[in-house]
Every structure is written in structure tokens, then in C-alpha cells.
Symmetry: C2
Subunit: 658 residues, 2 copies
């Protein structure tokens, strides 16, 4: 044990020593004079690109404009959002349901846009929940989370939700080996190699985007990290990086860094489909939530699934193949042609680039060096296109500009390196501030990159912005990549952790049927109130349903009496406005919940259990008109068992004139 | 009733007609060529000003840099924040406690910086919670919420937390009349005029910033809206705008807009202090939470207060005076000299400016036009310095540049108007996009404005940015005010609702003892683990306390066995790092809570009640090193009553070598 520990420390020390010697020489802050005008978007003008950035540990997704770096919206996904009532309103609560019950948070790493023919199509963005494994789909007509599906037999859904070239599937590979959900997981942790397994989920995406787990592959308990689908000639294959091929269960920083090579696993998913068709899949018990948003009722629905189809890739020998890859690979990136697969070993000092054509030939000739827990291991040299030499230290992730160039982030040496895909020659390098993780080129992981900009998403900030105490913003850096040399244009701070991102030209999304408000006549919410005259308050036992409307600048009703302590009061507010950008907000003093932020034409529900006798108040929280401040109301709360009759009104409950 | 309704509609129609005719002629998007370079802050360079912007209905406060408009941080205040664990960790939960219990949200409107001698001093920012009335104090050494105090006898704490010139007090005036908390509030709502009252709280601020309600003034149930303290010559006075002097209880958009004039109320708080000293205050029962953050234990403490001292301003005739002000006044802004008080009647088409000197003379001579529910009403003309004629429509709020100029926002006509405080002449006007609420000049409500920039915080966005579905970002606009004419420089989107803001030169804060990390030797958290060797797991009945450490790149312990279904497991994580910007995150699969984000030297606690037999995982959520991905661990959960012994380890629980 001690020896292994010392060896690992020695390796790490070596890496850091190398780091010192390979720090780029041009690591200055120099920005040429035209950068200001290149990133400035004048008031009222539009950005060129939408940039969808994961919030990382915020659990949300944020939308930026490029090149300005301005944040246009945070879309709540996996975490509750008091601002919009996400996870607090009765309609949104089911979206955060899981097999563990309601969970108010997750860790969202990788946004991936839907594709058609390998090109970004602007319909949806998928994003993974890492902690309690899930995938969400966001609808880009409404900029709203439309669906969330949980993943059984998994923990740490990291290598997700990457996508096939016609959005046939999004995938999810477990980062942590775990006992299967329906096995007896009460086993000693140090029986990891026997009792723990990894699973990869292939989630089918329907025409309207609806998700369903088509099948899972059972695999040895390595830690899957990232993935990318083949494209063009390699369509039908999927590539996953994995580390911890040691299958260590403790102190992984040492014990999962023992081997010189881990793997990129190639999955022949067309073959897997055949096996499924041939009935080789085993239907196993499982429990996972499938939640979706119903636009007609403005409400989420949560269903619990009971089984999943599993293929054992260790038994069916020709679905998966292991390609050796130095060392603890992170990125696993397929170039626009589909021929080249770049592996980024985060503890390596070179970048291996594999050839799809050579891989097929090696599989054909069974050029194996052995097997790994039943999975054939191809010979490194047989699959290798070549290695990028001395790219820097700690390669993590590569994207492409569509002009034959690749751009790889170097975490340890804090730089981005541009290299030629075919010749593997390093063409340029720029420093990043500091410790870059992923990078993003618009369309840079598709068949048709849009190029122009590259954004580095950094992990460490330190002194880059005005200090804000111990906790600092995380940060992105925008580069112009139109010339031979990369040009730093802008540092822009982000919300949460900008883990990974996608981007698309603005017109692809803004001209694609953007919804500006919801039509009130199409509202099928069971508690909708389609006009002020229909507003009412109905008691049903200790449940009280308030059918309320909001318009500039009053609620109807705005005086309510006859509520009793301990009642379950449901305020169902229908925003009657039929114009863009006229939400109303709604809150109740002392309610143990957040506000509602109700879009025009929508109905939302706030649940309140009054605990005190007296008068409570409600008001509009979203400044809606010159008389917004007057948009308020009173609720009289009487003691339990009180005989105060239930009454409600607007404008008529005036004192008698004296 | 019908007549009053029609009259109100007629008034509103007139206003909108006038709006059409007074739209500024220069309402183009024209931005002169140097704007880009004026707002560009090159990578690695610092912004000139910190801009503290309320999140409005997000309940938080955000920190921007000016002139870049880049958001540097969101500081969680009144709302839970899954990203940082605010309101989820055991340590932070007490901060959101109230007399109603734990509340996960509020509506935060007005940040106000602490002052010394009437000048911004960079120590703290106060901000109000509107919905469940509270005031928070944020510490600018740590950029963290340090204290929250609840306000009894109140609802809708809007005119808050404005400040006296040596931070003697922050104030809070209720926006809604309510029955007192300990009165019988179960009264018909239409007895509003008899049974409902307004209260204004004077909250004493101690040397370390600690808050305590010194006294409340009981007042007729008008709706207090905004306020500002006197300064210089008018130190000792406080001014509050109020609307709904009609004391209407329903359909306020009509019924609270009946009178041509409402009031600005002048409060002689030095006089109130005398009455308190003389024992005129009545100690009344009350229940309100006082929560503060203990930096030593890295934990919040919540105490429940039981009484409050009340002065009845309707009985004690010489504390408060009403100054008539047209119409439904919002802003109530005192110029840097302390002589002039600008009232902004949101339904008015002029801006009355009152004179402090004339007010004193009028009080001295009892130049009253009568009384309002026992409060003397001064004659309008006797107090008036003059009126700004035709400033635009819907004046809301005024700040000052320290050069004799005032800048007033016009909500209805969407513009900002610059005028001369003494001559009352309009000097310039610029359009805003759209419907501006508050504006902000750095130091612009203090004795020493810093000038240079003015920011408009707008209420409506529409087409100003790339569309994002029905819900749009809210927005700010930055203007250069160094010349005679205001120059629009930049539109920047904001998070939440940018209701109001403050700003200070960067050096005032960044050179004022910024905390970069917490010293581990000063950590007095009861469950601190000061070194990895001290890490342990202790069972106490069904409570299990995990004393865990985090360092790059492992947790200790990282293998835990002997946990049982239904246990209350407390993970107390101490981040042992002692460097800036090395937080670690912590999350547990399936836990019904958010992550922890633990600053260096800090201890935070995640509570988890396992519900399933099997293996759970935890990992670091904040990318901390090249081996961050390896920073993880396993917990074995056995059935209730299981005899699996409690064990814990790091690096040693390896399988026996075969």
C-alpha cells in the first residue's frame, strides 16, 4: 500500500514539475485594441449566438448571449428556484420527483443540443443531473424544462447526455460503480469488484422529444466520465471514456491512478439494438421517475417506472470494445468527419487520436491485447491515428472548428492548445485564467461547427475580478478563432459552475416559433379561471380553492373572508394578460413557500396553510404597471371552527358610508 | 361607487394620452462610438464600482461591476439557494426562521449601504424583505448575509431599509395596514379604517452592525412606500412617502387613487428618542425572529423576541407631520445638502420639491391645514420649494450627482429627466427601455455622490435582448453622466428584478479587509474536524455524526459502513484548505436536500436520512484539482436493526489481495 501511495505522489509531483516548464511564454493579459468593439453589443442590438451553459452545482442551465457574455436567463432544471416558484408551486413540484421522493437540487454538467443529420437543430437542450442520476430536456420554444427522466442502476450520471446524430438517443453512463438497484446492496464496500457494476443507459428520444430508457448495458464497475457519439461514417457507434479501471473503492486519487492506461470504450449501439430486437434484453425490476410538463394544463406529471431492459455487455462480446487510453481519460471527442476520436488523459502529457477506420479493422481482425472483465481490449497501436506530442499538461476536452483544427483544454497548465487533426501538429496555444475545464465552439461537437468563437470555462478565478469574500464567481473567457492565432476578447463571470456549454446561431432559435405568451383559450388547467366574473372561492372540507385572476392592476377576488386556521388554501391564479412580458407575481405573507411568477395565459397554484388568526395580505410581486403597488388583497383568517361565512369580492367590500 | 370607478379610469386615460404627447423626441437607440471602450473592462482588469442590486422577487442581492455590467456574485439573503446550500445546511437554516417558522423566500427591494457622516462607508449593505417583513444586513468583508431581523405589526415592508447618516438606524414602514400582531385580527376587512394600523420601525444598528428594534411608531393605516433620512442640517428627521390615504381595503388601483394629494410624512426621530427616554413608549407583546451568523462557529443562531416598544404618533402630536404631496407618491428623496426633499407622485405630472427650512418654519408657526387621523397636516405651499414642471409622466424616484443636479425616473413616459435642484429647470431627458423604476448614481442618496455613472433599472424588457420564451430577463441601462447630456452606454440584463441598487468605488470595499478564507485554528464549530487524523464517525442512538475533512483530493473518511435505514446522519465537513478560492462541494445521492459548498476553513453540515438499503455515494461537487473527479466515497446502508458494525476509513478498506 505504502509503495503505491508513494508512486502516485511521485507521478503527481512529476506532472507538476513538468507543468512549471511548459507554461506558455505568451501568458500575458495582452488584449489587442479591437477586442472592445468585437464584444460590444449596442443597446437594443442582439447577440450573434445563444450560449447554453450548465450551472454545474447550481443544478440549472443559464443562457448567455455571445459575444457580449451577457446572461439572458437562468432556466430552472433540477434545483428549486424560489424566484419563479419552480419546485414550490403545486404544478412544478412533480418535475423534481424521483424514486427517492422530492429532491430540491442536483449537479448539472453537460448541456447537449438536439441534432438533425449531425447538425444542431435548435429544438431542445438536454442536460444531465449528476448526483441523483437524471436527464432533463429543455424546450427552446419556451426556454423551459419540459421533461426529466431518472436513471436506475446508476450513481453519478456524468458521461451524459451526449447524443446521436439524429437525436435517436441520449446516453448516460454511471460514474460510480454501484450494486444494481434491485440487488442486495448491503454488501461490504471492499467487495466492490465482485458486487458493484457500471451501467450505461440509452435513452430513446421521440418525435416530440419524449424520453424513454430503451436499454441499459451492464458493464464492469469502472468510472465512466465523458462520451460522444460517432457521426457520419461512425454513426451507429458511441464512445465513452472511463477511469478507475483499477476498480478501487477508496482514496481514488491514489488508487485509481495506478495504471498507465485506462480506456475509451466503443459501443456498437446498432448491434445492441439488434440484440434487443432478438430478445436478448433482460427485463429487470427497477424504480425510476419519469416527469414531464403538460403545456395544456400548465402542470407537471410524474410517473414511476417499474422495469428496465438490460443487456449484459460482458456476456454479449461484440457490443463493446475497450481502446487503451493514457491516463484517466476525461474528454472523448469525435471530429466532424466522424473518423477521429481524441482521448484526453487528464494525467497524461500527450493526446492520443484514434481512427475509426483502424478500429473497425482491428475489431474485424480481432487485434486484441486481451480482455477486461469479458470486454475485448483492442491493441493501442492498432487503433491509433497518432499522438499530439507536448500539447501541455492535463488535457481535458477537445472541440473542433470545422476547418480541420482541434482545440484542447489543458487543466494543469491552464491553456488551450490548437492542433491540426490530420498532422497532429500544435499550431497555437493561449493561456487561460485559470485551470480551464471544458471549452465550447458553437456546434463544435457536431458535424457542422459554426466556428468564429471559442469559450473557455474555467475552474479557478482568484484575482480575475473584484473580490467578493471567500466565495468567488466562476468564469468564462471568450476567444476569437477566425484567424490563425486565437485572440482573447473577454472575461465574463458566470452563475454556478460553468461546467460545459453549447451554442447556436441566434436565428436558429429565435425564428423557430418562440412562444411569447400562452393562449388563455387553450388553458386546460383544472382550476383555470378564464375571466374575472368566474373568479370564486370554494370550500371542500378543510380544502379551500381560490379561483383567482390577475390583470393590471388587481386580483379578483381581493378580499376573502371565512378562511380558518389549519385550512389547506390553494390559490389558483390565472394571469389573464395576453401580451408578451406581462407576468404577474403572487405571494402571501408568512406562507412557507416561495412566490408564484405567472406567465400571461398561465395558471399557477400556491398552497398556504394559515397558522395564525388575523389578517394576511397578498400582493403582486412583479412590477406590472403604474398601479402595480396597488395590486394587493386581504385574507381574514378566523379560528378553527369559526362560523365566519366564506365570502369573496373585489371592489365591493367597502365600509358603509357614515 | 360607479362614479368613482369612472373618474379613476378617466384620470388614467388622461395620463396615458399625455404620455403619447410627451414621449421624448430623441428616443432612438443612438449610441456614440466611444461607448464600447467606455464599458469594456479588459480581461484581468477590475471594474471601477461595486454595484449592489436587489434581486427583487428573487429575494437575494446581486453584485455587479460597473461599467462592465458583469455580475460578480449573487449573495443569498432571504431565499434558499441550492447552489450554496443556503437554507439547506444545518448551519444556515436558522437564518430563514421567522415567527411563522422557516420561510424559503422573500421579495427584496432596496439595498442601502451603511454610512458614516452621511457618506457611504463600505461596511455593510442592508436590504428589506417585503413579503414577510424583515431586514437583512450583509457583511462586505465576507459578502455574506450576517443578520436578519423580523418586523412585527407589519405587512409589506417596502419603505425600508433606509438609513440615518451615521447608521444610527435603519427604518421599515409597513406598506399594508394590518391589525397589530397581538390584537384580535379576526375582524371584517371592511372595518379597515377602525381596526387596521400602520407601523414604522426604527431599528438601532450597533457598532458591529447588530440590529435591534428600538421602537415602533403607530400610525393611521396608510400605505408607506419609500423613505429617506434627513442629512446635514436635516439630520434627526426622516421622510416617508405614503399612498392610500383613502385607507381603501379593496380594488386599490381605483379606490386608493381618489385624492389629488397623499402625503410625505416627516418624522422627528430625535423627538421620538426623547419620548422613549421619558418612558412614553409602551412595551407591547410581539413575536419576531432575530437571526445572526456567528463567524466563530460558522453557524446561524435564531432567537425569538417577545416584545416591542411602541409610540403612538397619533397621540404624541409632535413626532410626525404630514406634507401634502400629489399623487400617490413613491420616491421621497433628500438632496445631498439635506435641504430639499423631492416627492415623486407616480400619478402626477410634476415633481414637488419641499424645503426643510420652510418645513421647520411651518411647524414652528403651526401652519397647518388640519390633521390626518391626529397627525398635523402642513400647508403644501408653506413647505414647497417649488415644482418641476412637465418633467414627464409617472415620476418615481430621484437621485443626485453632487453637482446640483437631480435625476428622476419616469415610469409611464419611460425616461429619465435631469433637472436643477435650485432652479427646478429641466436640463436633459433620455429614454429608457422600458418603464424605468428606480435609478442609481453611486452614492446618489448620500451626502457625497460619486457621480460618473447613472443606472436605470427597468421594469419591462420586451424586445431588448434575444427572446427567451414567455419569461424575459429584467434589465438595467448604464449612462455616462459626466457631461451636460446623459449618454447611454450599455444595456445589461440582470437576475431577478433589479428593484433598486447602491454602488461604491471598488477600492472602498476591496481594500477594507476582504476575507479570503477562514482560519482553521479559529473554527469553533461544535463538530469541527481540524485534521484528517481526527476524522471519525460517532453513533448516538439513531443519530450518526460524521466528522469529515476535505482536502485536494479526498474526503476522510471515504468508506463508511454500519449506517442503518432511518438513521439521522449528519455529515459535518470541514474544508481543511487554507487558500483563497478552494471551496469543496459535498452531496449525497438521493438526499432530500441541496449540496454543501464549503469555504476553506469552514465546517458545514448536511443531514441525510437514508431510506433504502444499499450503497450510496458522495462526491465533491466543486472542481478542485486535476484529481477532483476522484474525490468521492461510499456509504453502506444496512437495514434497520442490522448488526453491521460502524466502521470508517480512508485508503485502507481495500479488498484482500487474491
Amino acid at each position: 500500500m505504502k509503495n503505491r501511495f508513494l508512486k502516485a505522489i511521485f507521478v503527481i509531483a512529476l506532472i507538476f514539475a513538468f507543468f512549471a516548464s511548459c507554461k506558455p511564454k505568451n501568458s500575458s493579459n495582452a488584449v489587442s485594441g479591437d477586442a472592445a468593439s468585437k464584444v460590444y453589443v449596442a443597446p437594443g442590438k442582439y447577440d450573434e449566438f445563444y450560449n447554453f451553459v450548465s450551472g454545474g452545482f447550481s443544478g440549472q442551465m443559464s443562457v448567455y448571449g455571445l459575444p457580449s457574455g451577457r446572461m439572458l436567463k437562468v432556466i430552472p432544471v433540477f434545483s428549486v428556484d424560489p424566484e419563479s416558484g419552480w419546485g414550490f408551486s403545486e404544478e412544478t413540484k412533480p418535475m423534481l420527483n424521483t424514486s427517492h421522493g422530492f429532491i430540491p437540487w442536483d449537479d448539472a454538467h453537460h448541456p447537449e443540443m438536439s441534432q438533425t443529420n449531425g447538425e444542431v437543430d435548435g429544438r431542445w437542450v438536454f442536460i444531465n443531473g449528476n448526483n441523483t442520476p437524471r436527464i432533463a430536456r429543455l424546450d427552446l420554444k419556451r426556454f423551459k424544462t419540459a421533461e426529466i427522466i431518472e436513471l436506475p442502476n446508476s450513481a453519478g450520471n456524468h458521461s451524459s447526455p451526449f447524443i446521436t446524430e439524429n437525436t435517436e438517443y441520449v446516453v448516460a453512463g454511471t460514474r460510480f460503480g454501484v450494486p444494481g438497484d434491485y440487488e442486495d446492496g448491503d454488501v461490504p464496500i471492499n467487495t466492490y469488484k465482485e458486487n458493484y457494476k457500471a451501467h450505461i443507459s440509452f435513452v430513446k428520444v421521440g418525435k416530440e422529444g419524449e424520453m424513454d430508457i430503451a436499454f441499459q448495458l451492464r458493464l464492469p464497475a469502472v468510472n465512466f466520465d465523458l462520451s460522444h457519439a460517432g457521426k457520419g461514417k461512425s454513426h451507429g457507434w458511441f464512445f465513452f471514456s472511463c477511469y478507475n479501471s483499477e476498480q478501487a473503492n477508496t482514496l481514488l486519487e491514489v488508487n485509481a491512478s495506478q495504471k498507465d492506461k485506462d480506456f475509451i470504450m466503443a459501443v456498437n449501439w446498432k448491434k445492441a439494438e439488434e440484440y434487443i430486437k432478438d430478445g436478448k434484453g433482460k427485463k429487470e425490476k427497477a424504480k425510476y421517475a419519469h416527469n414531464y410538463w403538460d403545456e395544456k394544463t400548465h402542470s407537471a406529471v410524474s410517473e414511476m417506472k417499474e422495469d428496465v431492459l438490460v443487456l449484459d455487455a460482458m456476456e454479449l462480446k461484440d457490443i463493446c470494445y475497450m481502446i487503451p487510453c493514457p491516463k484517466s481519460p476525461h474528454g472523448c471527442d469525435v471530429d466532424p468527419s466522424g473518423e477521429y476520436i481524441a482521448g484526453s488523459g487528464k494525467l497524461a502529457a500527450l493526446i492520443p487520436v484514434f481512427s475509426y477506420t483502424k478500429m473497425l479493422a482491428a475489431i474485424d481482425k480481432k487485434t486484441y491485447e486481451g480482455d477486461y472483465n469479458g470486454i475485448p481490449v483492442l491493441k493501442y497501436d492498432a487503433v491509433l491515428h497518432g499522438e499530439v506530442q507536448k500539447p501541455g499538461l492535463g488535457p481535458l476536452h477537445t472541440e473542433f472548428d470545422g476547418k480541420g483544427n482541434a482545440y484542447t483544454t489543458m487543466f494543469v497548465s491552464s491553456e488551450i492548445v490548437k492542433w491540426d487533426i490530420k498532422t497532429l501538429k500544435v499550431l497555437d496555444r493561449v493561456p487561460t485564467y485559470y485551470s480551464v475545464g471544458h471549452l465550447m465552439i458553437p456546434g463544435g461537437d457536431s458535424k457542422k461547427p459554426f466556428g468564429k468563437y471559442m469559450v473557455a470555462y474555467n475552474k479557478i478565478t482568484k484575482d480575475r475580478y473584484l473580490p467578493t469574500g471567500p466565495e468567488l464567481t466562476q468564469s468564462a473567457q471568450l476567444y476569437d478563432i477566425t484567424g490563425d492565432k486565437m485572440q482573447l476578447l473577454l472575461d465574463f463571470p458566470t452563475i454556478g459552475e460553468p461546467h460545459y456549454a453549447q451554442a447556436a446561431p441566434a436565428d436558429l432559435i429565435r425564428n423557430n416559433g418562440q412562444v411569447k405568451f400562452y393562449k388563455i383559450e387553450e388553458n386546460q388547467h383544472p382550476y383555470v379561471t378564464k375571466g374575472e366574473k368566474e373568479s370564486k372561492v370554494v370550500r371542500n372540507g378543510n380544502q379551500v380553492h381560490v379561483y383567482m385572476t390577475s390583470t393590471r392592476s388587481h386580483f379578483a377576488p381581493d378580499n376573502i373572508e371565512g378562511i380558518r386556521v389549519g385550512d389547506e388554501v390553494y390559490f389558483h391564479i390565472t394571469n389573464l394578460e395576453q401580451d408578451w412580458d406581462v407576468p404577474h407575481g403572487f405571494s402571501v405573507k408568512g406562507a412557507k413557500t416561495a412566490e408564484l411568477l405567472i406567465m400571461p395565459g398561465e395558471t399557477s397554484t400556491l398552497k398556504w396553510i394559515p397558522e395564525k388568526v388575523g389578517t394576511s395580505v397578498f400582493y403582486c410581486t412583479d412590477f406590472c404597471s403604474a398601479l402595480h403597488q396597488e395590486m394587493q388583497g386581504y385574507v381574514r383568517v378566523s379560528p378553527k371552527g369559526s362560523a365566519t361565512p366564506l365570502t369573496y369580492s373585489v371592489g365591493t367590500n367597502m365600509p358603509a358610508v357614515k
